[in-house]
Symmetry: C2
Subunit: 336 residues, 2 copies
């Protein structure tokens, strides 16, 4: 029977409607094909094509090699078609009842591997660790600019998830505002903390680990679970078990377990769902905040097996035919 669930982290409502469920193979949308990409050898993110991107901002090159030459492991470049740009300003403009600010900010691409066909499911844990280490370095560098309020790191994998290039990459958008999805989490988490004097996420972790029904995977430092109010079939969250509000303050010693958790989750999704398209985002505290007692950074992974339609856009409520308990059960069983 259907249920209208509320996400304690955002207040977001979700309709869990297993009556609309299909078998997992039917979830597979022809658009989730990952092989839309260029096969002509002109991929701008491949090793040897460094001249096709703007000059690199950062690259991991052990052993050292000249900038913008081959032999890198992870490479960060400015987005050639930026959504926000350092050449903009933050000036406020009004036009009658309307308001805008200039599109100032930074939009970078993190090329995650020299390998054109790698994914987080197939890369080594060492390589995934380097990618997350690179995210951290970029945040630590960019946050020196006090005008920036937030850095969102996200990944579009596969055509149905909004990717336009197959070569594995993430993106970083550094902004002069805190995005609404993050503000919403901050507000709900702060209200919860005021009431209970506990971190909402820590309490949720404790409950979920004890109950087990929505658990997907865990190791010493991280837990992967199916959110109670999952918007998408097989949605997952990865959370650090120890309280920490900012991703970039994660202890270096946890990096290996984070990489393991990410690799295992993505491999389980690939195994259970036959290489789905997906989005991944890191939600972390706004820049310039002292460590927050009430907020807890985490990763959200959203397989994109179904379309976002008029109901979702018009209501803000997602309809999900796959109960997270069933999704978690299948992902726990998935062999990797």
């Amino acid at each position: 029977m259907q249920e209208l669930r509320q996400d304690p982290v955002t207040g977001r409502r979700v309709i869990i409607a297993p009556g609309r469920a299909l078998r997992p193979s039917d979830f597979r949308d022809p658009d989730t094909r990952p092989d839309f990409a260029d096969k002509s050898g002109s991929c701008p993110f491949c090793e040897g094509s460094e001249g096709l991107t703007p000059p690199e901002i950062l690259a991991l090159r052990p052993p050292p090699s000249p900038a913008n030459s081959p032999s890198w492991l992870v490479r960060v470049v400015p987005n050639k078609y930026p959504a926000l740009s350092p050449e903009g300003d933050i000036e406020r403009k009004t036009e009658g009842i309307f308001e805008s600010i200039g599109g100032w900010g930074t939009h970078e691409v993190i090329i995650e591997s020299p390998g054109h066909d790698q994914t987080f499911a197939t890369m080594t844990e060492g390589q995934i660790g380097r990618v997350f280490q690179t995210f951290r370095s970029r945040i630590l560098d960019l946050k020196k600019d006090p005008r920036l309020q937030y850095i969102l790191i996200f990944k579009n994998h596969g055509y149905a998830a909004g990717a336009t290039l197959r070569h594995p990459h993430s993106q970083l958008l550094a902004m002069p505002v805190v995005p609404s999805e993050v503000s919403r989490e901050l507000q709900w988490a702060e209200s919860y903390f005021k009431l209970k004097e506990h971190c909402l996420f820590c309490d949720m972790l404790q409950q979920e680990v004890a109950a087990g029904t929505r658990m997907i995977d865990r190791n010493e430092d991280f837990v992967a679970l199916a959110p109670y109010a999952s918007r998408f079939p097989f949605e997952a969250r990865i959370l650090p078990r120890k309280h920490e509000s900012a991703f970039e303050n994660m202890p270096a010693a946890s990096l290996e377990n984070l990489a393991r958790s990410v690799k295992r989750l993505m491999a389980k999704l690939d195994s259970a769902l036959a290489l789905p398209a997906s989005n991944l985002v890191i939600h972390t505290a706004p820049l310039g905040e002292a460590p927050l007692d009430y907020y807890h950074w985490h990763i959200e992974v959203m397989p994109r097996l179904s379309k976002i339609g008029g109901f979702e856009l018009g209501s803000g409520i997602y309809i999900n035919p796959m109960p997270p308990e069933e999704a978690a059960r299948r992902l726990r069983k998935a062999v990797v």
Copy 2:
């Protein structure tokens, strides 16, 4: 240059990034194909297949003919795979920190025409008028149940917009909650009213009609415009020029002009964008509210030419490469 605009109706931020713009033909995504549908003659919404749907709730049958037989003009049936169901309950359940209510509600399908290949761009104005008249009848009937708080009417047209059947149809979800996207509009509009003692939408209409830069089309009763903070390329809103908070209280005399406005907008989109997939939603005041001074019902039309990616899902901020001023200019010029 990029701009970070704020929608005065929801507070939602949008990045207008024309640097990311493509020519209109490039906007066309292979997934926007409307011809995904069944050609086998087994369409459950076609005339003569009435037995393939659950028994009808309402049908316009002039001249009268028996229920669930052919010769109807518009037909309303229960959704066979409902997201919410009248058999559910509204009981609140908790599971530790999590909360849900039962998935009680109603999910109906409005079959807009006996013609399998018709769209709002090709139907007669008379037929579109009958469809909106049917929406109105269903709301007036359903709102007798005091447990319902909101009725959302929406339409998915084309594969990329979430439609699974080609035959023209809309859907209606009657719910025991007010959806967050509507609450957000109500809150922003109420705050504005408290400050200015005017309806935000009326003020916006006055400004937009005077400025003209985002105007798409208008007639005596309705205005179609490109929202200042459009989330999607070629997004449009249709608003009644006279203040009215509830769609179902629209004067019957306006129905003809509403149908004309919808038909012209959809035909302009088809002409400018080569038959895009799109979503349409009606935003109206919650049920059981007295007429509201501060809220103004309207229709939102969202062509689905680009994907919703990790940035949009993770931030709540949409990146739109098409400035609404340019979209409006092209749609004004589009010949229908």
